[in-house]
Symmetry: C2
Subunit: 885 residues, 2 copies
Amino acid sequence: MSKYVYFFGDGQAEGSGEMRNLLGGKGANLAEMTAIGLPVPAGFTLSTEVCTAFYANNRNYPAALEEEVAEHLRRVEVLMGKSFGDRDNPLLVSVRSGGRASMPGMMDTVLNLGLNDETVQGVIQQSNDPRFAYDSYRRFIQMYANVVMGLHGDALEDIMEEMKDERGVELDTELSADDLKQLVTLFKNKVKESLGRDFPSDPYEQLWGAIGAVFGSWMNPRAVTYRRLHSIPAEWGTAVNIQSMVFGNMGEDCATGVAFTRNPSTGERLFFGEFLVNAQGEDVVAGIRTPQPINKAGGDGSLPSMEEVMPESYAQLMQIQDTLERHYRDMQDIEFTIEKSKLYMLQTRSGKRTSKASIRIAVEMEKEGLITEKEAVLRVSPEQLDQLLHPSLDPNAAKEIIAKGLPASPGAACGEVVFCADEAEAEAKLGRNVILVRIETSPEDIHGMHAANGILTARGGMTSHAAVVARGMGKCCVSGCGDIKVDYQQEQFTTRGGQVVRKGDIITLDGTTGEVMLGQVPTVQPELTGDFNDLMTWVDKYRRMKVRTNADTPHDSKVARDFGAEGIGLCRTEHMFFEGERITAVREMILAADLEGRKAALAKILPMQKGDFLGIFREMKGLPVTIRLLDPPLHEFLPHSDSEIEELAKGLNVSARVLQDKVESLHEFNPMLGHRGCRLGITYPEIYDMQVQAIMEAACELVKNEGFDIVPEIMIPLVGHVKELAILKANAIRVADEVIERYGVKVEYLIGTMIELPRAALTADEIAAEAEFFSFGTNDLTQTCFGLSRDDSGKFLPYYVEQEILPNDPFVAIDQSGVGELVRMGCEKGRAARPDIKLGICGEHGGEPSSVIFCHKIGLDYVSCSPFRVPIARLAAAHAALMDG
Amino acid sequence: MSKYVYFFGDGQAEGSGEMRNLLGGKGANLAEMTAIGLPVPAGFTLSTEVCTAFYANNRNYPAALEEEVAEHLRRVEVLMGKSFGDRDNPLLVSVRSGGRASMPGMMDTVLNLGLNDETVQGVIQQSNDPRFAYDSYRRFIQMYANVVMGLHGDALEDIMEEMKDERGVELDTELSADDLKQLVTLFKNKVKESLGRDFPSDPYEQLWGAIGAVFGSWMNPRAVTYRRLHSIPAEWGTAVNIQSMVFGNMGEDCATGVAFTRNPSTGERLFFGEFLVNAQGEDVVAGIRTPQPINKAGGDGSLPSMEEVMPESYAQLMQIQDTLERHYRDMQDIEFTIEKSKLYMLQTRSGKRTSKASIRIAVEMEKEGLITEKEAVLRVSPEQLDQLLHPSLDPNAAKEIIAKGLPASPGAACGEVVFCADEAEAEAKLGRNVILVRIETSPEDIHGMHAANGILTARGGMTSHAAVVARGMGKCCVSGCGDIKVDYQQEQFTTRGGQVVRKGDIITLDGTTGEVMLGQVPTVQPELTGDFNDLMTWVDKYRRMKVRTNADTPHDSKVARDFGAEGIGLCRTEHMFFEGERITAVREMILAADLEGRKAALAKILPMQKGDFLGIFREMKGLPVTIRLLDPPLHEFLPHSDSEIEELAKGLNVSARVLQDKVESLHEFNPMLGHRGCRLGITYPEIYDMQVQAIMEAACELVKNEGFDIVPEIMIPLVGHVKELAILKANAIRVADEVIERYGVKVEYLIGTMIELPRAALTADEIAAEAEFFSFGTNDLTQTCFGLSRDDSGKFLPYYVEQEILPNDPFVAIDQSGVGELVRMGCEKGRAARPDIKLGICGEHGGEPSSVIFCHKIGLDYVSCSPFRVPIARLAAAHAALMDG
């Protein structure tokens, strides 16, 4: 028979930290903390298998579960010396979710469970504090009614606000025990009135209701969204943790707090956190009261720290955090409660951190001997680097600072102000940059936070929902900005200085300083620290795959090389066709009546194109450069509107009618599947001839005049059949060898192809007979494999991703089972036919970590990505290699 | 050491009929005929391996070849009692190509080789006929100069025409021996003058020149075109046959002829052919003189037959043709020559025939006990049926007959008159129907004949180039139409009756009667004979795959069922959306602002769509019907021009602006890869719901009211990911089961999908978990696999096919290594996941024989094709099954 429930308490635990998949992160860590002797309130965990069984079995629990829960509850009662539902000495419990991966704020929690009109008397008796007892009771009803019974949160909040108004008080804490007792009755009446059923008084009914709510919440839209954003499979399920309550809100010798063993923003090795006296944990996280710093070093002196207020507990906590970090060998995010001066640990987990912190912590831990180089590399997630590599505010730029909040998540962001998540999403879909401004955020805002460039909240600390989630997303956030007053109604906020900022106005956030500025402030490139360089040295030591860049200009080539690019994987020559006077020559070529006319126009383009290659080769000296010959259909170089056509016709000295006819004759129903790529090279060989000539002349000149070492890789795009490549390769060799002979130098060059059509992947063995390298063009391959036009998919693809019809946007992360399968087949067949073939990828997937890891697995030699993603790809490649073994 | 040369002569042969691949068809048959004791002039064959080696080795012969040829030549000399190059008794030879597959007129031939100023004296001595000797000599120079040396044919022809003008004669035969002798000198001078080198007098130099020309001609453009049209690989190569000359032009006791052992047009068991007295074989085939019939039964009495003129030779020939047919067990196409009353067999090969003849011969031979049922089935090529199944002229229609020629290739054709092959091709590319009218055709006209609907020639018999090629193509042809006078200059022809028909005028040909009619004459469906039915009975007995049809209307369904369709493989519901008032409702649906609006519009379409299904189900009673839910993007249902939009806006009572906006918002860059297929079903589930409801209501009503047996197969198009299908299947089941319950009847139904995207094929195992059947949509699969838009490929695909970059147009014959590989994988994975899954194909490949055979090989359950191609697919399926075992 399966075991579904795992006990922990008093140094004994049935689970352990290893059992994360079964017990969830929280449950595993509670077991682990218990086992290593830390003070953890006793409790037990319903494993994720219950969740799986629950959904597999039409939302029914396994038969044995009820008895198993009852048995474990008895064990907790014995240990705590309390009895669940007992009117004299009642055991109260918390019910919390806890999945395999941390999903902050996404899952529902119920505290103080077990309270009813009878047991509340027992709590009064035990605590000798009726106000505390009724406060706990009314909190329980509020939470339970909302989370378990589905009553809208405002319904009870409004009753309490009314009472505060009546009593003429502002804070919850100013309400008396009687007020709170009355609230309990009012709340229960409201529940009955709104939902048509009584608030459950039976503690067991409460317990099973809460368990059901946790499992049920696994499939609520917020959780589903979060999983989608973080690629967490629904099959993982969540565990449920049931744990004895301890109270941080039983008086001034009580407190609750959250802390990080190192600074999650900078990575500095400094115990860092916040706490609130006489409060429950949710008060810290929800950001309703602004919390105090845990120690003097972490505060600004405006509020007394725990180190000062509760020195003994602080010393104990310091000890514990050190134990935890050494035990887990990673920076921990902990929650604790002090009840009547006794410290309890409620949670520990690997702490979320900024990319900067992530790198610093990893590198310093390695230096401290806590972890190895390899572990340090694996500690930094490639996605995080994105944040680090993005620009920050230009320190020399003029800034009109209108407010200042907490530096909750670093980076700079700029955009139009919006005040609600839906609007943020809608505007972002239109391509606008927006800053989401909220009094505070909640899980309902996730989609808007995701869509926004940055987040600004008026309330909440460094561990508030907004701060935690924004850091997770690598998104700039300023939280707890008390300087601003947000008016949702008027769609504006007012600063302390009286500045009114309305919806649509542009502001800039600096998530590293907490500053809010009016208008757009210029940014500068990120400065990469010594830690970053240390880490990347290790990264390069452990990865197998090379990382190249996609670059079409000398400037981009230089940026990428500075970021560690080891060559160019894709130089798109068509971009060179659009610039300045070139486009005129290109248009002349298209309009030419015959071969001679086309050749004359191409002769004008040749020196310009050659100049581009000279610049790029110089930047990439000593490294390989893959140049793709012309790819887009010719109509892309012609104007389309009548007025543009008229103007161009004048410029080219042809009649508008002739030009119009040409535009029409080149029109295509499906340009993506049209006369482009090597099909142009086949029908207009003179175009590719010119390009090959330009490439080889540039290479030969450098070899001849500048002592260069360069191996141009000439890439033929959109090959579907080996004969296309065979013909174009023969042409290219003819032109290249003619140039080489003319210059009288020795230049090696390779000729290869993009594999970007399913047919090319399917017949890669045939194609490899001609190709010296393959570069998988996974953008186009995704379009053809899915039959999905990137330009047209906006009408349904977002819906597909939202509804989890597709696990990811396949243009972002490679679709491993479809597109990836073609790439895998292409590699296998390519290598079978030509064992030394060079294999790479140059689609945008080349800079997306999960795709890079996939590329490693199937054995590619390199990935190529945009310059700013080069370090991400390097790190992902190292992860892939280290995960290998 | 390899053997390259194979001897035949005097009952001895080193080769045999089996060695077709090595010796070519002609060489193998010469060996075979020799071996079975028929009178064949001695000779030898250079095998196809010489050709392969020649091209593999940069156009050089194998080292041993020269000696081997010399040795075999000596053997022939001994046997014939003549000596090659001997001035007293010279051996003359013919040099002919002969590939594995018959390629009429495509390869070059040289006759009378061995003649020079000295040996011609020997011929005079032996024949005692100087006129014959010089005529042979001048013919040899003409042929050799043209074929081997590359002199334009007209160059020498003009000299001869001049001489005839000078002599005041009309026919070649009217020139004297002296004239001809003089011509020889003039010809040689002209060669020297035009080519700058002497005409070779050394017989060995002549011989090797001719051998080289034959091998060289394997790669000439005409041969390449023919191979492309007939899917003959270049790797097969050609053999060269060198054979002692015999002469049908040595006097009135000489003759030459070609004949078929049965009538190639009707299939009647009647020896059928033509001959010319005192002529060489080329005279019959080229159609310069109108030949006489071989027997009384085959003629119209206007010319004396061989049976009457040369009764003894005729009797011998009758005997031989009977031997040959019994030996080869197939209708033979033979060539013979009578030299001084002695009969020689020059060639036998399987005779080309019309589809009608093909069927009759196969069925009758089976009844005669010559062949088995299976052989009979294999004797009829599926491609041929196309011809048979096409309409013929309505016998009751008024016809303005303006001329009559020979019924060279049956069927009816109608189109605009054009006078040159290039023009025929150009016009056909524009989608026009054309009739190619020529004085006579030559291999240079092949591409035009292919492009034309029908061919009309003024000269040439039933075995002329035009007739033979047209029959091979299954194309209507009227040849030898002496009633017309063609004027290429004026681009017109004039009939005997004075009717002038100009380029662009429409005429109709009846290839079965030889009639030429002015204007377009209505046609009727073909009447399928008893032979056809006998054959198709055998076909159905031996095939494994089912054949369904693609039909969207009750009418098409009926036609297809009459042709033997065993169900509908593809019923496209969108065609039903375009008709009459439906399109208005469809447009209302598209323009509806919300779900309710769409539902209201769909409710109007429901009864109409249901009516369609009722009609189709009734025609298909007892057979499966696969209905594809809506596939095209919605913008296809809206107008696009401003005026149409304005008009429609009025009709729908909306502003043109609103309609314009909708049209613009629905615009797609790549509609092929856009918001269509199941993507519509996902985003607008109400559309598919309506369609499923219509299908199921129709089925239920028939079951309830008409005692029907029908299993609707609901097909979801364009699935790329199994979840799409899972969602839409669940919707369909909900709607279908609701309908079934409402009607209270039992109706089984299947839900499956099109596999028409590479991703679907690659993940077919996952998709098969939801799909009860797969129908491979190879049209779209070809587009996505190749990245090739069918609509846009016109700018390069014809060039690709022409240049043999692709072996075939992949939209016509399935691309087996790319698209076919996806289909194969799809089948394999689909069956692995669901062993009883139904697998079929519904692209246009389903009616193309090579594709049908491929479908059989990979294990499909059925193919589906357009109604007229159903018998073709049935026959191809039988061929596939018979070739299997």
